[in-house]
């Protein structure tokens, strides 16, 4: 991507004015919902609905054609059928509009006619220097600019995680999970057919985007995976990239004639090669979100030594299971830590002190919890700590103690409260405000820790950025 390209993309995500071409008054149509999303999302720029006959939609004056809009708009959202879309795009180009989002499907995925249309679309974009998101896309968002240019009116928390998705449906699955987890979003791109703007273009743009600290990607498959992995690897040196790739069924190519060919299942290839380039892979939407959440809230640990602290063994065992095979070190306790814990809990403990640190019932008392977490965080074998607890009606949650301990230490702390998502809303808000991600399952806490450790290994460049 050239500097000019980046500038066009910046305008697409930060438009001063937006035209909604194909806006309608019926709420079951895409055109209506694009408009509703802009308004509901709190977009502050000018909005120009375009429809040949209607006078007013959702309280906004309507323009009969894009040529009637009094200023040059920065972004055109096109909700017309595929044929009209291409005609309108030509008009946009002539008017000097540089950015468009095309929602319609019906292009190359439908056969010869669609392919021909898509070819014309590409020619138009080249002729006028237009950048197009889609076609066949949910749209884009930039919460920093209050811009929801999708046809799903939603209200989301603003933050520093940006998402690129090849699927609208899974894109939404990720967005909703982020909402549940209190993960703030910055930008979203549904790349659709990737006819003009490719996933690698979006990665390059987000790499230089100051509002984006972490990039999450949902990937189905691309033709030029070679460029994608090279770009992703380069971007991952600047800021963390987490990719969830579907298609893990290792169906083999039966036509191949060598052993090498027959063993290269597509997912195995993908996994090995993305690992080669240092990009973190997630195996599911929850893992993608758990990873992005930790990378969004925590500073990166100085090393990979992981400490676990609990008063109930099960969740730590599950967490260790999730970490198995990832070459993550679970170091033992330093002798000083053992002495310190015994000084707090007494010499004759009913448990053996090791990592995971399991204090049993003794660890639940509010007076001692903070001291124990302090001791664990002070252990020089640990670079980060995950704590586990089970919220209880009559016992206070250790939220205050965790925040206080975290403030005294430079090491990342992650916590798992075994609970429903709704049951710990206040704790989540308080902890995450203080930079401690709260997870409701040990699996997710483990994925979060693994993501931090992965990017801690990438060395200095990322630390400077974080």
């Amino acid at each position: 991507m050239t500097e000019d390209d980046i500038e066009v993309m910046q305008k697409i995500f930060n438009p001063g004015s937006v035209a909604v071409i194909g806006a309608t008054a019926s709420s079951d149509r895409i055109g209506y919902n694009l408009l509703d999303s802009l308004i509901y999302g709190g977009y502050k720029g000018k909005i120009y609905p375009v429809h040949p006959k209607l006078k007013e939609i959702l309280g906004l004056p309507v323009y009969p054609s894009i040529l009637d809009i009094p200023e040059r708009v920065d972004l055109a959202l096109i909700a017309l059928n595929q044929r009209d879309t291409v005609d309108v795009l030509e008009h946009c180009g002539k008017l000097g509009i540089k950015g468009a989002v095309i929602v319609a499907g019906g292009f190359r995925e439908t056969g010869d006619e669609g392919r021909a249309l898509e070819k014309r679309l590409v020619e138009i974009t080249k002729k006028y220097g237009l950048k197009v998101v889609g076609p066949n896309t949910l749209g884009i968002m930039n919460l920093e600019a209050g811009l929801n240019a999708t046809f799903y009116p939603v209200s989301l928390k603003k933050g520093n995680v940006s998402l690129i998705s090849q699927s609208g449906g899974i894109g939404f699955s990720i967005i909703q999970k982020c909402s549940d987890e209190g993960v703030g979003l910055n930008k979203f791109v549904g790349v659709g057919n990737r006819t003009v703007l490719e996933i690698s273009d979006c990665l390059e743009f987000l790499a230089g985007d100051s509002g984006t600290k972490v990039i999450g990607v949902f990937l189905e498959g691309v033709e030029n995976a070679r460029r994608l992995v090279q770009v992703a690897g380069k971007v991952a040196h600047r800021k963390p990239v987490v990719i969830y790739k579907v298609g893990q069924s290792n169906e083999i190519n039966e036509a191949t004639l060598t052993h090498t060919g027959s063993m290269a299942g597509p997912y195995k290839l993908f996994r090995d090669i993305f690992n080669q380039y240092g990009v973190l892979l997630a195996g599911s939407v929850p893992e993608l979100v758990a990873s992005c959440k930790a990378l969004s809230l925590c500073r990166l640990p100085a090393g990979g030594g992981l400490g676990l602290f609990t008063y109930t063994a099960g969740p730590t065992i599950v967490a260790l299971d999730r970490l198995a095979g990832r070459k993550i070190s679970i170091p033992g306790l330093a002798p000083g830590t053992v002495r310190r814990i015994k000084a707090i809990l007494g010499e004759n403990l009913p448990v053996v002190l090791k990592n995971p640190i399991d204090t049993g019932g003794l660890g639940t008392r509010p007076g001692t919890y903070g001291l124990l977490v302090d001791a664990a965080l002070a252990d020089h074998n640990f670079d980060l700590l995950v704590t586990f607890c089970c919220p209880h009606k009559n016992w206070p949650n250790p939220t205050r103690e965790l925040i206080a301990a975290h403030q005294k230490s430079h090491k990342p702390v992650l916590t798992c409260y075994i609970s429903t998502v709704k049951g710990v809303e206040e704790d989540r808000e308080a902890l995450q405000q203080a930079g401690i991600p709260l997870y409701c399952s040990p699996d997710e806490a483990a994925w979060g820790a693994a993501a931090l450790i992965h990017y801690s290994r990438r060395g200095g460049a990322l630390h400077g950025n974080a």
Binding site: G221, V222, T258, H259, I273
Partner: protein, 227 residues
Amino acid sequence: METRRIIENVRKSGRTFLTEVESKELLAVRGIPVLSCRVARDEEETVRMAHECGFPVVLKVNSPYIIHKSEHKGVFLNLGGEQSVREAFRSIRRNCAAVDPEASVTVQPMIKKGVEVLIGVIADRQFGPVVAFGLGGVFTEVLKDVVFRMAPVSTEEAEKMVYQIRGNRLLRGYRGYPAVDTLSLLKIITGISQLAVEVEDIEEMDLNPVVVFPRGAMVLDARIKLC
């Protein structure tokens, strides 16, 4: 370029598969250590070559129509004397007659034991040239212990490949067996990955087995398929 000449010769004969002899010739010109083999067209020639190369020897079928030599019962290992060479030659002729009645054989010395690995290349539709490394010989298909990298790979990356396979302990020495010469192995991996990038005609390539010794490493068998 020598590599080009070998490939053009194969193309001229209307084939996309290089025989073992051609594959090894191509590898040799790239500086990859191969166990060279000689082609014998009849029983007497085979026996003479076996004597020249010294017992024990290996006989393999040599035919442009036969890619998987073992599947056609076209490989005989560890032949200790003239009589067993004669019997092996006749067996190969018999076993492969249906596919290629004119098939010749290759004669090569039986190599002392080392750890057998596989080094391969595929031209992936999405990633372009990709290099593979894994346990070789009989383990290849059973364990599928193979890792992949986008080519070219650096020596450092090749080393990571070697340590990534589950069976890497076999290379580091176990139960009294000495550790193998990893450096020689890494040289072959990086050399092959460079070849994969430079010669775009290669669609698939199997070097299997490559035997790694406490000192040195050598390609014992190879097949190359062109696009």
